[in-house]
């Protein structure tokens, strides 16, 4: 599987994501600087990492979403290339218009950094095919702006179309309807606040995140 991890100024989870992808797929991703205008030919997965791009100035993900590389990411998404956005990556994908809604300051106003219980809502997507629908899993979060917000109509549509991928099993950040991760209408773009790359083996305390990458590998193979 040929993958690329986008690197923005301030990203600090890009290497975590690269290590996880390489460990699961056996192939190191291309690290792509945000000023690039093209993705590597034949890329099977584009990962948009977590970690304070542009210092979260203005709004989380706002400036990263307007960087040159994102034009190429949007075009790839329209071609059906799988795009994974984790944490700040999720914020960037909503700011870029690839996913609906917005991520606001946590309702409790605290930075939340701990493993959280999630429910897998949809096991049919290319990202979640290694999970069972309704399954309880644990994946860590680390964010200040993870409070997912969208208007009621958008939320109803997401639920009705089975586009809620993961839901918090506990109150974490005030997200509308407990949404932790969503996919786009075509199912090839996933944004999620929890960090699957930080749960890929026993040394991480569990491997519930690993199955996301395994499922992707299987889906694109």
């Amino acid at each position: 599987m040929k993958s690329a991890v986008i690197v923005f100024p301030g990203s600090n989870c890009d290497r975590d994501l690269a290590v996880a992808i390489e460990e699961v797929t056996g192939r190191a991703p291309t690290m792509l600087w945000h000023r690039e205008t093209e993705l590597p030919d034949g890329v099977d997965l584009v990962a948009v990492p977590g970690g304070f791009s542009y210092g979260d100035y203005l709004r989380s993900g706002a400036m990263a979403a307007r960087s040159p590389v994102m034009n190429a990411v949007v075009r790839a998404a329209e071609r059906g290339v799988p795009i994974l956005g984790v944490c700040n990556g999720f914020q960037i994908l909503t700011e870029a218009g690839l996913l609906p809604g917005a991520l606001m300051r946590n309702a409790g106003l605290s930075f939340v950094c701990r493993p959280v219980a999630l429910t897998v809502e949809n096991s049919q997507s290319i990202f979640t095919n290694r999970y069972d629908a309704g399954e309880a899993i644990t994946i860590p979060v680390a964010h200040h702006d993870g409070n997912y917000t969208a208007d009621a109509e958008t939320l109803d549509r997401l639920e009705g179309e089975g586009r809620v991928a993961f839901r918090y099993a506990e109150q974490v950040n005030g997200s509308a309807r407990g949404i932790a991760g969503i996919v786009n209408g075509a199912g090839n773009v996933l944004g999620m606040m929890p960090h699957p790359e930080r749960m890929i083996g026993p040394e991480h305390g569990g491997s519930d995140g690993r199955r996301l990458f395994e499922g992707l590998l299987e889906a694109v193979a």
């Binding site: 706002a62 307007r66 309702a107």
Partner: protein, 76 residues
């Protein structure tokens, strides 16, 4: 020229920071404040060549997230 841009959360969007400020004001003993909303103030210094349409585009494309925010432009 100086243009002032005010970015505010749309009504109906929960504002956790505004709520925290409200609580802090109550804690200080100020009563009678019914609600607090927090926004952003952005000041642009620019030449005459920057049009109203340019300023509007700046707000829509970057300065405000129109999913959750409104913006108001005061041209100097």
């Amino acid at each position: 020229m100086k243009t002032r841009i005010y970015v505010t959360l749309k009504s109906g969007v929960l504002d956790p920071q505004g709520k925290a400020i409200h609580h802090a004001l109550e804690g200080l003993g100020f009563s009678g404040v019914e609600d607090v909303r927090q926004g952003k103030y952005i000041e642009l210094e620019h030449g005459e060549g920057v049009s109203d349409a340019d300023l509007d585009a700046m707000c829509r494309k970057l300065l405000a997230n129109t999913v959750i925010e409104n913006y108001r432009i005061e041209r100097g």
